[in-house]
Symmetry: C2
Subunit: 196 residues, 2 copies
């Protein structure tokens, strides 16, 4: 394959899908829900999770004030809710009321856990790394909530029916489908020339 | 839904899929390829990308020595390569030779860009945030390479045939499928009670 090379990376696109989550926050009587595709696990033991949030966002202010956030992993049939949440700001509208979003306060944080989430990570902020036009918040995962019917033995996510939502960039989404097991063992080395 | 709540989060599972990438590195004549699911975009302008790498990994050492890494986004038909790369360490084996991985040096960094990648981000390290059992490396995206036939207008990833690989935890993988467009506009507010 002959690749296009962009050295002046003045804009940044989604070349690969990312899980479309809803990050919730709460501070001083205000709560918010924001669609976030820029997130990742960071540490297993102890568990840490990170989210990248622009300082322009209302969620950024609520996280700064409370030191807490919740990452909600949504099932496929809530893709339209993710898109709706992405289309407005909590500064202007109470998204929970506007979209009928059901939630409960977290068990360890006050930020809400969405009733329809497959799983949710309750996080307490441990660090904030300003990086370009976003801040990377790292959070200690102080509680995990999950819907038991969505997970098979070993906490393996079932993909039938409620396949996770993936964000593809712009206003496009997809689903995670076709689970397969691939053994990790190293195959027998092949007699192939080393790449250039 | 009635959720299971784990307050003692002594172990950490994949409750949601993450794109299965191969992170490549190069330092002092040694190169390596590592399967990485813990990664995210962080900033759009200027572009930054982050990867979480355990200090135990050989890749960590190569990134520390070179200050560079490349994130390679792989097509679905290379899922077995991702699993193979995940099953061994570059300390013990030259994975490029062992698995016949074709590559070229990056245009701006010496870490290799995989020939079969749908896209690759060449990154120069700008920060390292130790966080639990991993280090979060942030990198300035100094070049983007992509396979033009894999992307439609607006750099939207085509999902027919080469659907991206998702890591589901343990040794399970899935694919991104069924792209749909969902308009971002906020729906008309409903008369629904606010969640608890």
């Amino acid at each position: 394959m002959s690749k296009v090379v962009q050295v002046s990376v003045d804009q940044f696109y989604f070349h690969y899908p990312a899980g479309a989550t809803i990050v919730t926050s709460y501070a001083n009587g205000k709560q918010n829900a924001m669609a976030v595709a820029w997130h990742t696990a960071v540490s297993r033991e102890p568990p840490y999770y990170a989210v990248a949030i622009s300082p322009k966002r209302y969620t950024h202010r609520l996280i700064m004030e409370s030191g807490e956030f919740v990452v909600n992993f949504m099932p496929g049939d809530k893709a339209e809710l993710v898109a709706a949440v992405a289309g407005c700001s909590g500064r202007d509208i109470d998204k929970f009321a506007a979209f009928g979003i059901r939630s409960s306060p977290g068990s360890q944080v006050r930020a809400p856990v969405l009733t329809d989430a497959l799983a949710a990570y309750e996080c307490r902020v441990t660090g904030r790394l300003p990086c370009g036009d976003h801040d990377l918040f790292t959070g200690s995962v102080v509680a995990v909530q999950y819907e038991p019917s969505a997970y098979a033995e070993g906490l393996l996510l079932e993909l039938d029916g409620r396949e996770p939502i993936l964000y593809m960039g712009a206003d496009y989404y997809a689903r995670a489908r076709g689970r397969t097991f691939l053994e990790r063992k190293a195959p027998v080395p092949r007699e192939t020339a080393r790449g250039s």
